[in-house]
Point group: C2
Chain length 354, copies 2
């Protein structure tokens, strides 16, 4: 059966503000020194597994041009533009219906557009195992990451019995506190939830029909109209009516035949500015410095310079991000509070800075 990929690229990436903006979110930025954007890397690493014509990008309509520009190898008709944001369940149903019209049935890899993978061959092996598991019945397969420490910022997958390369999923759990995360690790029965899924379109749509029938039916109508004159109109009408729901909550936590393939391939969700020093080389003072920067007696700092000189003097554990219209200076302990700045800007109606 044909293997297709759906890359979800509608996110806002608020935690990478002020580089990530409404008009150019994280997945369209390069956060590594090679200059490749996150979504370019995501597509590139599928090269040996999925044909370009079988890669579909679901994104907000506002970002279609960014996708065309950054991914010229992807056929334009594969860029599926959501008229509004409805979270991942409608997003994936939309793509499944469109691909279903094209190929009847196919395997779908569902992948975030803004994660990094360090070990390509191990990643490919894991995806192939997931494809095989997806083909074996009507399984829904999720890629779990073998944890390396008690991270409290990820959801976890509690798995049970082994079945070939896969493990049965017992349940999905939300981000734990540190004590619970440590218990998860000690138990040897929990994986990080990577947000990567593999299934047959038919398996997924069966579950959509069961657990989110309205979205299923609307998605089918969008799929039927795909390539016809009524597509745009149908898309807007149906999509706007969808309930906003994550695929984790809407499907995965309710369905049967859920399996996980554990993977260890240098996965990084690049969740906030702290990731930049993890995914790039740092200097002898453990600083990550990009741009025109003079650092004096500064250690463990991350500086993403802009057009001006940035001078950092005597700084520790600080993130400095310079853009044309906004400068962020943030303690490494407070990266989660960047969203408070965005909230204040929205409240003050200063949307040009969001």
């Amino acid at each position: 059966m044909r293997v297709t990929a759906v890359i979800m690229a509608g996110g806002r990436g608020e935690r990478f503000w002020p580089k990530s903006r409404n008009n150019c979110p994280k997945q369209f930025l390069s956060l590594t020194s090679d200059g490749e954007t996150m979504i370019q890397k995501t597509v590139k690493r599928l090269e040996s597994l999925v044909e370009a014509e079988d890669i579909f990008i679901v994104t907000n309509a506002a970002y279609s041009e960014l996708v065309y520009d950054q991914l010229p190898q992807i056929p334009k008709e594969n860029v599926l533009a959501e008229p509004c944001a409805r979270n991942t369940a409608p997003c994936i149903a939309f793509a499944a219906a469109v691909i279903g019209k094209k190929y009847d049935d196919a395997v779908m890899l569902v992948l975030p557009s803004d994660h990094l993978i360090g070990y390509q061959t191990m990643y490919m092996k894991t995806l192939k195992k997931a494809v095989n598991t997806a083909l074996d019945g009507d399984n829904l397969v999720t890629i779990g990451i073998t944890p390396t420490y008690a991270e409290t910022g990820y959801g976890y997958i509690n798995f049970g019995d082994e079945k070939g390369d896969a493990y049965e999923v017992e349940r999905f759990v939300e981000k734990p506190d540190l004590k619970t995360a440590k218990e998860y690790l000690a138990s040897g029965k929990y994986l990080w939830n990577s947000g990567m899924f593999v299934w047959k379109i038919s398996s997924f749509m069966k579950n959509m029909k069961k657990f989110m029938p309205d979205v299923h039916d609307g998605a089918v109508r969008i799929g039927e109209s795909f390539g016809t004159e009524s597509y745009e109109e149908t898309l807007v009408r149906e999509f706007e009516a969808f309930t906003s729901e994550s695929v984790d909550f809407g499907i995965m936590e309710k369905a049967s035949d859920i399996y996980t393939i554990p993977g260890s391939f240098g996965w990084d969700d690049v969740g906030n500015w702290l990731a930049v020093e993890r995914i790039n080389e740092t200097d002898e003072n453990r600083n990550y410095i990009d741009g025109d920067v003079i650092a004096v007696d500064s250690k463990h700092i991350t500086v993403c310079g802009g057009k001006r000189l940035v001078a950092a003097v005597g700084m520790r554990d600080t993130i400095i991000v310079d853009t044309d219209d906004v400068l962020l200076v943030c303690s490494k302990n407070s990266t989660q509070d960047v969203k408070k700045v965005i909230a204040e800007l929205k409240e003050k109606n200063r949307n040009e800075l969001v």
Copy 2:
């Protein structure tokens, strides 16, 4: 005898980089919320004591236009432009010779252009006492500041016997270490050296003749040429030949009849970025914030914003200064290291940023 003032405004103010630049140093900047520049304040506070026509500004030739603009009340011929920097002894001798040509003899107040005074009436009283002491013989008078803590960043004046309002100066001492500074305070015999001097021109020139005869003679030649066609040529020739020397080392540490008037008038030398929070109001988190700034969970920070939004998140004890072409992020413990950035810029020949 007429009371004149000489305001020394040739300094570079490197410790206020990047606001203070080669083309607009600290004395020409406003560091307070009222918008007045340091030199404007310096002149304004002399209003009740010295006529505008008797206020002389000695500055680098490059800053003459800044002085004309900021101090239109000062006659242009009172703006004495040094062709090069030769420290304070030649600077004051130059002014003394020019004023000496105009008035034969007069009292000279010699004042830095970039200090702040909080208590105006007490300042005036101190200056008047200094004028009276200067008129009583050939005394050289320095204004000492009664210390409020063991500052290690100032020079100290060790005083002896009382003589009217004044005290005889035993010696001048360089910036002490903390232990020594504490001993100075405990002794009750040391004042901070404010760099403000009062004397008759005749008294000063007598001492110049004795201790720095070459500079004395050159200054006299400049004074004689003042107002004639040969002035510019004489000034450049003589001034460039002067030894670079401070008045403290060249004269004050060697001369007799040195007196100090102790003052307590809210003096602040505004020595570096730490001063900004001292001389301005701070908010409930002890932050000083100027410009378009969003501060989230930040305490004891100083932000001098520029044209862009500055977002400070989770920051402590940090100075952020945003300008069009340079951004400074500096720990409050490292303000003295700002000069290392300037040194690096000079070394790299990036003088446009200095």
